[in-house]
């Protein structure tokens, strides 16, 4: 249930092109064939009363409030389940219908508590609304059998289930299945005893429920109700904004009561999420008001001292003086900064501008370095654009989906729900992952092919797949001839045909049976529309960039680019990875991925900014840290990132930070990195920001301030103040003005403005004169670079090999309820589900080491060791162990190495040779 005023048309839109014409209460309506009478009536402005229908769910026909009459037909069909037909004459209001509806409502109310005035949903309840609409005045049934004493299940930390208010409409059950695809809820019992049950009649918390909130959203009464609403009351105002968790970029309506945020409701109009949400975006926003938030600037001379609170002027003045001093002593390039993928495009743009224009160096990088920099590199070389090719809706047209090194149900849950729906409709699934991720087998979804490769052999597997496509003549010759560079294709074809790239030759290396590779390759090539979705399991390898290009090759050689249902789709980790990269955060590129060596581009910025631009690339994050240990690099501005926890080889990162003269951290919390900082500039949560995020599908979404900045400053104001204090005056009146500057300086953003976004909701770049409302699917007629470029992708094994000393391979990932380094989610009730990181290991590996399920173990690599609890799991094959990095105490990155992608230095998080040994509890971290 939601207080949104969006019209609910009752049943989903029909995708049919053919239309039918009918009349509803004498009004002529024309709708796509397959549209329900209910929807047609609502579109005609004649909403039919309803309770079990809602346009996010298929029609169900159970409540019987929406009965209508159709001329020439007997009876009173339900309008939700009756499709429109040509020439139909529908009546939605007749004395008979009004009478029937009152009689139905009388039955409902005969088994419903009469406590509207004290109910948390009072004023926000469809049952209450409908009782009014149908004109119920009296319930003539004496108190009989009822559910008024049915218990309330409050086990979930975020919502409660009050069975006494349930009207058994099944909207929650259907939402769990149709929208979320988890199928945790069911109706148990039958007849009057029908009731909603989680799992096998267990409390919600113990069931398969993933707390996505779809059931709460779907509930027309107060049965499933956010606890925050029960506690704070019905919201009174709304602000549309964008979630700040993963790269899906869900649109939300923040609902407030006065200035207090009551709940976050997924926005039905949201381009990325279409009204769906996950446990993080929907519920885990309480960190914004967590007492750990630092709200005033902090300063200290040395990291061994205690923090001193300071005014903004003092802190910024201190930082500016020290930065200039360091540059004077050690050179302009002795300082640099890191932009954050957590921040808005506007905040990122201003920080990189500060670094390039005020610092005078290209030593700017972004945390995308450690996740998707290979995507930017690889896709730019192959297609000409450093971004995914599709919108999320494209998956609705896919006949085969290949998921490589991604775990969408945990890391991109809202997209995963969309994907699962398509899979339930019959699309095939190929999973390429060392782990048996949930998608491999879950309710009503099963992967036809799971290529369970050895970590680190991605490129070998992808080459083998392409080898089969070429060797078995499954190439889309027409597409290759029309759309791709013939020279590059010729060279690539010759390479990929080599016997060394055959599945049989690579079987021993990859661990994947050749027959599996061949059948998966044939299925991909044969599918009318085959789409690839990939995550950090592709990029975070020594050959991450090569793998991205190998994926692009496979898509091109089979013609799977340039239309709905196909494409190459990176699933971005953080909310604004795409945007941070777009905004010119890489040391070699200005906004819009234009190399700093390009004189015309540089002069554009020099003219606009009135400052000289350097023609040579600056340092990447790992280069900065390396240079810090040698003393060449001495000061770092870090916007919203916790490199001491998130970056690999923690000891090395800490040594580098410790070696610097000045570390400036801008963040919500005193994170691990802040232990090494001299200046702490409090940041703002997404609820306080005014700007834009760009999600994994290049969709630019508005982030609107739900509440004023709790620090008294916007983050871009802080960067402007620092630049100004350093002698380069920077000032903007608003986020909108920053976007206007971005648009002026960036061709792919030329048409973007807050005004446009406020008008159309969101746009996908490129958005310019050629595409005034954006580009959902790229490379339709031609590639951005003209002809698609095949890049030869020889497999080069990683240096990180198992040895007798380190015989296991560690790979890392995340869980649904936690996010990245956990700075936010650890400060919410999401810890209910995942209170510590654990190490998944196969029973065989555990047995030989004497490790029991749940016992403490030490995991060590050649760079470090840490401790966590072991979990015996057959999700990982023997020889592979897996953990998450959400908790600083377990510090998974203590063991990850400084190996990295050859082209981008993206760390090789996904392959670390390790040993695991049992440890007593006494040695456990506390």
């Amino acid at each position: 249930m939601t207080a949104l005023d969006d019209r609910d048309l009752g049943t989903p839109a029909s995708g049919a092109r053919r239309t039918v014409a009918l009349s509803v209460d004498g009004i002529a309506v024309e709708v796509p064939a397959g549209t329900s009478v209910m929807r047609a009536a609502a579109l005609a402005g004649l909403p039919v009363p309803k309770l079990c229908a809602t346009d996010s769910l298929e029609a169900f026909g159970s409540c019987r409030l929406c009965l209508v009459e159709v001329d020439g037909r007997k009876g009173t069909p339900a309008s939700c389940t009756t499709p429109c037909e040509d020439g139909m004459a529908v009546r939605t209001q007749t004395p008979r219908l009004e009478r029937l509806r009152r009689l139905v409502m009388e039955l409902y109310i005969s088994d419903h508590p009469l406590d509207c005035l004290t109910c948390p949903a009072n004023g926000d309840c469809e049952l209450q609304d409908m009782a009014g609409v149908v004109g119920l005045r009296e319930v003539r049934y004496a108190l009989g059998a009822n559910h008024l004493d049915a218990p309330t299940d409050g086990s979930n930390p975020y919502f409660s289930f009050d069975a006494s208010k349930c009207i058994a409409c099944s909207r929650c059950v259907r939402a769990c299945g149709e929208v979320q695809g988890t199928f945790a809820l069911t109706i148990s019992g039958r007849g009057f005893d029908s009731k909603v049950s989680a799992g096998a009649d267990v409390p919600f918390l113990e069931s398969e429920c993933v707390s996505c909130g779809a059931c709460v959203q779907a509930c027309p009464t107060s049965t499933l109700q956010e606890k925050s609403v029960i506690e704070l009351g019905i919201p009174t105002r709304q602000v549309r904004t964008t979630c700040a968790y993963c790269g899906v970029g869900c649109s939300f309506v923040a609902e407030l009561r006065g200035s207090e945020l009551v709940r976050m409701v997924p926005d039905k109009a949201g381009g990325a999420n279409a009204g769906h949400s996950c446990v993080k975006g929907r519920f885990a926003w309480g960190y914004a008001s967590h007492p750990d938030r630092v709200l005033a600037p902090l300063v200290r001379e040395s990291i061994d001292e205690e923090w001193q609170e300071a005014t903004w002027d003092e802190a910024i003045g201190f930082a500016a003086r020290r930065l200039r001093q360091i540059q004077a002593e050690h050179g302009v390039d002795a300082i640099g900064g890191i932009t954050s993928s957590r921040c808005t495009n506007e905040e990122v743009f201003v920080v990189q501008k500060m670094i390039r224009a005020a610092f005078g160096t290209n030593n700017v990088d972004t945390c995308a370095r450690v996740c998707h920099s290979p995507t930017g590199y690889g896709l730019k070389r192959a297609f000409g654009t450093s971004a995914g090719t599709q919108d999320f809706a494209s998956v609705d047209d896919a006949d085969l989906v290949m998921v490589i090194g991604a775990n969408p149900t945990d890391a991109h849950p809202v997209f995963a729900s969309r994907l699962k729906r398509r899979l339930r409709q019959g699309a095939q699934l190929v999973v390429i992952d060392p782990r048996r991720i949930d998608l491999v087998r879950m309710p009503h979804v099963q992967a036809e092919h799971h290529l369970q490769l050895r970590p680190g052999t991605n490129v070998a597997v992808m080459n083998a797949i392409s080898h089969v496509v070429v060797a078995e003549n499954l190439v889309d010759r027409a597409f290759v001839a029309d759309r791709c560079d013939p020279m590059s294709f010729g060279a690539w074809e010759e390479f990929i045909r080599l016997p060394e790239n055959s599945p049989e030759a690579l079987e021993a290396e990859t661990g994947v049976p050749a027959t599996q590779i061949r059948s998966a390759a044939r299925a991909y090539a044969a599918a009318p529309n085959a789409a690839i979705y990939y995550g950090l399991g592709v990029t975070e390898h020594s050959q991450g960039s090569t793998m991205v290009m190998a994926i692009a090759n496979l898509a091109m050689v089979t013609g799977n680019i340039g239309r709905a249902g196909v494409g190459v789709n990176p699933l971005r980790g953080q909310n604004n990875v795409q945007g941070a990269c777009d905004m010119g955060s890489f040391p070699h590129e200005l906004s819009g991925y234009r190399h700093v060596s390009d004189d015309s581009v540089r002069s554009l910025f020099e003219d606009a900014w009135g400052a000289p631009m350097r023609a040579e690339p600056g340092l990447r994050i790992p280069n900065m840290l390396d240079s810090a240990t040698t003393g060449a690099f001495r000061a770092l501005f870090i916007q919203g990132e916790d490199i001491a926890q998130s970056d690999p080889n923690t000891q090395h990162v800490e040594a580098a930070l410790r070696a610097m003269d000045l570390v400036i951290v801008q963040d919500l919390f005193l994170n691990q990195t802040a232990r090494f900082a001299h200046v702490f500039l409090p940041g703002t949560s997404f609820l306080e920001k005014d700007g834009t995020f760009t999600n994994a599908e290049r969709r630019i979404n508005r982030v609107r301030p739900v509440m004023p900045s709790r620090t008294g400053k916007t983050e871009w104001e802080v960067a402007c103040a620092l630049a100004t204090a350093m002698g380069y005056p920077m000032a903007y009146a608003s986020g909108a003005e920053i976007m206007d500057e971005i648009a002026r300086l960036t061709p792919t953003f030329a048409g973007v403005s807050f005004d446009l976004l406020d008008r159309v909701g969101s746009v996908q770049w490129p958005c310019n004169a050629e595409a005034p409302v954006g580009t959902p699917i790229m490379h339709g007629e031609a590639f951005t670079r003209g002809l698609g470029n095949f890049v030869t992708t020889p497999y080069v094994p990683t240096d990180e090999r198992t040895t007798r000393r380190y015989p296991l391979l560690l790979t890392t990932g995340r869980v649904l309820t936690q996010y990245n380094v956990g700075a936010q989610t650890r400060r919410t009730a999401n810890t209910t589900w995942h209170a510590e990181d654990v190490l998944d290991m196969h029973e065989a590996d555990a047995l030989v080491r004497g490790i029991a399920d749940g016992s403490w173990v030490e995991i060590s690599s050649r760079v470090g060791a840490t401790m966590l609890r072991a979990r015996i799991s057959d999700d990982v094959p023997a020889g592979v162990v897996y953990t998450t990095f959400h908790y600083p105490v377990s510090g998974a990155n203590v063991v990850t190495t400084d190996n990295s992608d050859w082209a981008t230095n993206c760390p090789e998080y996904k392959v670390t040779a390790v040993e695991v040994a049992p440890r007593s509890v006494a040695g456990a971290p506390t």
């Binding site: 019987r64 009965l67 499709p83 139905v104 039955l107």
Partner: protein, 510 residues
């Protein structure tokens, strides 16, 4: 050597047929005992038949205690009190026109050779050599209507499924016979299973379905076992399988046991149940003929409908259509039950009067008291008062008289019946069996029981009567399926014809 025929169907067994068979076998060494299906003369069960030169001689209601004397009479060729003469000459049977039940009771139901000898398989042989659309046309020409209750023209369904394009199609046999007082489906499955298999195979070939399912209610374990054995036998003989009778076209059948819910007799709830979900009614459209089992075109028919196809294809659509009256063609299997002297199967062309069935074939009430009410069409059918016994038993005439022919069940009550209690029972039955999906049925049935109770208590007769009538209206017009939609029939008919029963006894006395 003497051959005895003793039914093996569950009704006969429930009154001791097994024990009788065992004793007779011991008493008559050297004789052959064939366990058959039932003749449908439930009032004579266990009916023991003995092969004689003149025909089969019957002994009715033979209890195990009677075995010795009956055996003696058989051996000696002397008379016996239980003897009923030549069975085929019994007027009760001889006056029937049996197509569907022509074979049941004559042979071992699992003896496939006997099935063929008795005329079986002619229809499938013919159909497998015909163009599928010719078969569909024959079913259309026969005028066959669905025997499950709704009486929908079978030919239209067949043509719809045949015309639908899909990678797979199904035939589903609805054998979830849940109506009280009906037992014809069970008798047929236990007594002549190959006829049902043959009918399903013909349907499969005609509409292009390759897989069939027989959904049999869990309360029918004997029918399930018999059907399973018969399906295995049919498969062995090539009547089912990848190439039916060598036609090159495949059809197979599997037996599924129902979920023990009345509403699973509703076709869409049955499909849900077959797909492994709770038996909950689906909204229509889409109709199962276009999107049924697993979303594929599905021909759903009752047992008797599919078995009727054997006559239609075996003897010709014209011969079939020549039987019956008006828009009700062929034969109907009337099932006499309740307070009736001669209960059982009476198969006749549509059109006999209810009086002929109840008083003629049925012999009036078993109690000997006057008939007061007859319920047609199962527990949700209307009650007709004795004054309407002259209604002709075809779909339209019965509807005109305020009743529902339904599946052919006829339940008789004598003048001791409390019709208010019967009305209450209808609501209670609905409350018990409702799937719980739609509101009028889920809540309404429970309220219905309560309102009938209040009405009978008599505190506010006018008010409660108005509420009950309103409730019946919303259940009839508002329910999702026939379960809730039909429940008002027995209630309203009881109110209409037997209003006096709803007045509290105290009020009557006052």
């Amino acid at each position: 050597m003497t051959t005895l025929f003793i039914p093996r169907d569950s009704a006969a067994r429930s009154v001791g047929a097994d024990e009788v068979a065992v004793r007779l076998a011991a008493l008559l060494p050297g004789s052959t005992i064939v366990r058959t299906g039932s003749r449908g003369a439930m009032w004579l069960e266990p009916l023991v038949e003995v092969d004689t030169p003149g025909g089969r001689r019957g002994y009715g209601q033979v209890t195990p205690d009677d075995a010795e004397s009956v055996a003696a009479a058989i051996s000696a060729g002397t008379g016996h009190a239980l003897e009923v003469g030549l069975v085929d000459d019994l007027p009760w049977l001889a006056d029937q026109h049996r197509l569907l039940f022509a074979r049941s009771g004559l042979a071992d139901p699992l003896d496939a050779d006997a099935y063929v000898a008795l005329g079986g398989l002619r229809a499938l042989r013919a159909a497998s050599a015909m163009d599928p659309l010719e078969v569909v046309a024959a079913v259309e020409a026969s005028g066959l209507r669905g025997r499950g209750g709704a009486g929908f023209p079978a030919g239209i369904k067949w043509r719809t499924v045949a015309a639908a394009e899909a990678d797979r199609k199904y035939v589903c046999i609805n054998a979830d016979e849940g109506d009280s007082g009906t037992f014809a489906d069970r008798l047929l499955m236990e007594g002549d299973p190959f006829a049902l298999i043959e009918g399903a195979a013909i349907a499969g070939l005609a509409v292009g379905a390759t897989q069939g399912y027989a959904y049999i209610r869990s309360e029918y374990p004997d029918a399930v076992a018999t059907m399973r054995d018969a399906v295995a036998e049919a498969r062995d003989r090539g009547w089912l399988g990848p190439s039916v009778l060598g036609s090159g076209r495949g059809f197979d059948l599997a037996v599924r046991v129902g979920a023990g819910s009345y509403v699973c007799g509703e076709e869409t709830a049955m499909l849900e149940s077959l797909e492994g979900r709770r038996g909950m009614v689906r909204a229509k459209p889409p109709i199962p003929a276009l999107a049924g089992l697993h979303g594929r075109p599905t021909l759903v028919h009752n047992v008797l409908t599919l078995a009727s196809v054997v006559s239609i294809l075996g003897d010709g659509a014209d011969a079939y259509a020549a039987l019956g009256r008006d828009r009700s063609r062929g034969t109907q299997v009337f099932q006499l039950a309740g307070n009736i002297a001669r209960g059982g199967i009476v198969e006749l062309p549509f059109g006999p009067t209810l009086r002929e069935l109840v008083e003629g074939y049925g012999g009036g009430t078993r109690s000997g008291r006057p008939v007061r009410a007859v319920q047609l069409g199962g527990p949700l059918g209307a009650y007709l008062p004795a004054s309407r016994l002259d209604v002709a038993m075809d779909y339209e005439s019965v509807a005109e008289a305020g009743g529902m022919l339904g599946h052919g069940g006829i339940v008789v009550f004598d003048d001791t019946v409390d019709m208010a209690e019967q009305a209450r029972f209808a609501m209670e039955f609905c409350a018990e069996e409702s799937c719980g999906k739609c509101t009028p049925c889920r809540i309404g049935a429970v309220r219905g029981v309560e309102v009938v109770d209040r009405l009978r208590a008599g505190d506010d007769p006018d008010g409660d009567r108005a509420v009950l009538l309103d409730l019946c209206e919303v259940m009839r017009d508002g329910s999702l399926c026939a379960m809730g939609g039909l429940t008002p029939q027995p209630v309203l008919s009881a109110l209409e014809h037997f209003g006096e029963d709803f007045i509290p006894r105290t009020a009557v006395g006052a």
